[in-house]
Amino acid sequence: MSKNALVSVFSRVAEEMTFMFVETLDGPPPPTEPPYMCVSMQFMGPFSGVLSLYAPGSLCRQVAMNVLGIDDPQEMGEHFKPCDTMCELLNVTCGNLLPELAGREPVFNLTPPMALEVDDSTWNSIVQDAEAQGFLLDDQPVYLKLLRS
């Protein structure tokens, strides 16, 4: 149930926000290069947990450029961090996912998403994690994992 909701919510949100083609990834991902990013946020309410998103850094830049509607990375400005867009993508996904799981009435408190770089072994672990759901965004892999505590 959680995974079905995650697939449908992330597919819709990612397509609407990034204008990228989204499909689920059930086999091994296409080859990627480090660095890898992990963005995660906590939610507290009738039930609590953590929603995390893992992606290669190159995808973070592409998503940021698509969302901002720019062709040249220089247009982002030197202070703009591409992972901020991934944080927002996760934030919107989480905000849309919780009502699917808990109904429209309960109030959840969400922590602001945090981004950090992860090493190759963390990326390889998430790729093999049966609890994580893989997606392709324009043929680049991204993984989401919902942990309910």
Binding site: V13, E16, M17, A64, V67, L68, G69, F80, K81, D84, T85, C87, E88, N91, V92, C94, G95, N96, L98, P99, R104, E105, P106, V107, F108, N109, L110, P112
Partner: protein, 127 residues
């Protein structure tokens, strides 16, 4: 007439997208002001003339609901229209925001049309 608009959101991406949407919408923009949380938003409101506020709910330091509550308790800020732009979808919280006098609510992800329509309605058909 050019309108001064304040966007309060902890995401630089959202602030940039709203700015771009407004610039492309044909609305005559005066100052485009940005704040990353409710506290910064209140500071900006006390220093600058603002015609319309777009505000997120979940933010660090001071959230959007606290900021709107502080605006409604301030004689000089209480009449400024506020539009909430948030992922928050709980009907309980949306009702509470309407009780605080929020003019409109846009759920993320939003389209440029949604933003334009709200501005057009609130700023008198300039959109």
């Amino acid at each position: 007439m050019a309108y001064n608009i304040l966007v309060v959101d902890d995401s630089a991406t959202v602030r940039a997208v709203i700015r771009k949407t407004l610039e492309l919408s044909g609305i005559e923009l005066g100052e485009f002001l940005e704040a990353a949380n409710g506290k910064e938003g209140l500071e900006t409101l006390r220093k600058s003339w603002v015609d319309l506020v777009f505000c997120d709910i979940n933010m660090p330091v001071m959230n959007g609901e606290e900021m709107i509550r502080a605006m409604r308790e301030d004689e000089e800020l209480r009449s400024i229209p506020v539009v909430v732009v948030s992922t928050e979808a709980s009907s309980t919280r949306i009702e509470s925001l309407h009780r605080l006098g929020v003019q409109d609510y846009i759920k993320k992800p939003f389209t440029p049309e949604m933003l334009r329509n709200v501005v057009k309605t609130l700023l008198g058909g300039q959109g």
